[in-house]
């Protein structure tokens, strides 16, 4: 019942999207190859599914994404905890972060190629860079936002060091950290396409870039659909993880 409810809304959303899209195609009267209609894209998707090309691209992208994102999440949370507990370190790191963060991977790519070569490594590095900063910043913000009374209580009971981190600070900052991780999922996915432009010969980003190069916009759109769906699925996965951790904390104790 509740699942039906949920998918019902998603169905409305999909329907609306398709309707607007089809309308744009009809009203705009564009050259079909410049704005493929939903049906064409459906055909392209079927083609990708049948040829098995999709699974290859998807698997490669997911692996790269996992490597870059997990590294970004670990480094972001780890350094975030460090920085927010050692104020002088953060005062040095903060301007660096704010200067480096807004620079596009496209701008970095000459240097990324120089250091990391071509193929998997630059894609992973770019996804890492994209995911790292949101996680870092929201971890720092989360730790600083911990209600001081929890720290007082912890200090009072002699909870310090590692226990302070895992029992007080992490759970208290957890909502903020997972919010950052959800933002990072989106941002990191966005850069999948940039990352797979640097000499990759597979992956969803490559599929899009390659299809764009060959002016197969129906395939570009199909790639967009898959990236979007994967992004949604990953976002929901983080949400589920968050809920589970919270429930476990709630129930254990």
């Amino acid at each position: 019942m509740r699942i039906l409810d949920k998918f019902g809304f998603a169905a409305i959303a999909v329907f609306l999207l398709l309707a607007v899209w089809q309308l744009a195609v009809l009203v705009g009267d564009y050259e079909a190859s410049l704005l493929p209609a939903p049906a064409d894209v459906g055909g392209a998707i079927a083609e990708l599914l049948q040829s098995g090309a999709l699974w290859t691209h998807l698997r490669v992208s997911l692996l790269r994404f996992a490597a870059g994102y997990v590294a970004a999440a670990l480094a972001g949370v780890g350094l975030g905890l460090l920085f927010s507990r050692v104020p002088w370190l953060w005062r040095i790191a903060d301007p660096l972060v704010q200067v480096i963060r807004p620079v596009s991977p496209i701008a970095w790519s000459p240097f990324i190629v120089l250091w990391f070569g071509i193929g998997n490594a630059p894609a992973i590095v770019i996804i890492f860079l994209a995911g790292f900063f949101p996680v870092l910043l929201s971890t720092v913000a989360g730790v600083r936002g911990v209600d001081p009374i929890y720290l007082k209580v912890a200090g009072n009971f002699g909870i310090a060091g590692h226990a302070l981190l895992t029992r007080i600070i992490l759970p208290a900052a957890f909502p903020s950290i997972t919010a950052g991780m959800r933002i990072a999922i989106g941002t990191a996915w966005i850069f999948l396409v940039s990352g797979e432009m640097v000499g990759s010969q597979s992956g969803l980003g490559y599929l899009i870039v390659d299809s764009r190069n060959t002016i197969r916009l129906d395939l570009v759109m199909a790639g967009i659909v898959f990236i979007g769906l994967c992004g949604l699925a990953l976002d929901r996965a983080v949400l589920l993880f968050e809920r589970r951790v919270r429930r476990r904390w709630g129930a254990s104790g």
Partner: protein, 302 residues
């Protein structure tokens, strides 16, 4: 741009023609033509629009945001195949592509199993690679072909991430100039008078504004002729459009020709066959459908 409305009282304002390009040596005639247009053309003003990559340029060309471009001809053929009304009216240049390799590579067979970069599947460079391997008795699959943005190629070669590449200039010259690469072959050794970049115009312009199209091509040929001198004057114009060292520029100019810019049927058909043979396109547009030599012939007569 868009100066057509509310213009001065001297009469109707001239139409502005926008042509797209990438900052490469291959587009030199366009640079010189724009320079010439500053003296004033009869029927139009010329505005060059620089792009960061071929796909960006093609997006603008396909959607009619620019009237034409100097572009990899295979990309334009591909767009034509997809139903976009484009026609090639002249070549961008002749020859001018080189196969640059790591100093340790002495023959195509040394490339076996190694990564080798091209800018794009739909490019003359890919065909050149194919020809080179074929002549050396190798299969295309014998090298690991990688599509890479051209600016990244010299760095990738310098760091030995790739064993070689073939691409538009000045990216080949760059690696040679910094001593990280050497020229294995020049394109004319593989494919004399190879077809690479072309001046492509949108159909509306050719059919609807014939007079403008004609003057555009006339001036383009004149500019090509001036470029072919490779004089200090034309070099200084080039350097306004592409910010490169003298050494790199001189080197890349050595390899290229800007005269005889007519796209001949034999050359085009050969290109078509390669596209089919390499499996890049089942049915590329025919010479009649895609090449419009009427303007260039008119210019030669005039």
């Amino acid at each position: 741009a868009g100066a057509g409305i509310g213009s001065d009282d001297s009469g109707e304002a001239k139409r502005t023609i926008k042509l797209g390009y990438l900052p490469i040596t291959h587009a030199a005639p366009l640079y010189i033509e724009e320079e010439m247009s500053k003296e004033g053309f009869d029927s139009f003003d010329l505005e060059l629009v620089k792009f960061g990559s071929w796909p960006d340029l093609m997006d603008a060309l396909n959607t009619g945001n620019i009237d034409g471009a100097s572009v990899l001809i295979e990309l334009a053929m591909r767009a034509k195949e997809q139903g976009i009304d484009l026609k090639a009216v002249a070549l961008g240049h002749k020859d001018g592509n080189v196969v640059v390799v790591d100093p340790s590579v002495n023959s195509p067979s040394d490339l076996k199993g190694k990564p080798f970069a091209i800018p794009h599947k739909y490019s003359t460079h890919n065909i050149l690679l194919y020809q080179m391997l074929k002549e050396a008795g190798m299969a295309y699959e014998d090298v690991q072909v990688i599509e890479l943005p051209p600016p990244e190629m010299p760095a990738a070669l310098a760091e030995r991430r790739i064993a070689g590449y073939v691409v538009a200039e000045p990216f080949g010259a760059k690696a040679v100039a910094i001593g990280k690469g050497k020229v294995l072959l020049q394109s004319h050794e593989l494919w004399p008078d190879s077809v690479d970049c072309a001046l492509v115009l949108r159909g509306e312009l050719i059919d609807g504004e014939r007079e403008i199209a004609q003057e555009l091509v006339d001036q383009y040929l004149a500019a090509g002729a001036r470029a072919e001198h490779k004089s200090e004057e034309s070099k200084s114009i080039l350097k306004n459009y592409m910010d490169v060292d003298d050494e790199v520029l001189d080197l890349s100019l050595q390899w290229i020709k800007y005269d005889e810019l007519k796209l001949e049927r034999e050359a085009y058909d050969m290109l078509r066959e390669y596209l089919i043979e390499m499996g890049l396109s089942p049915n590329p547009p025919s010479f009649e459908a895609f090449v419009d030599n009427s303007l260039i012939e008119q210019a030669d007569e005039g």
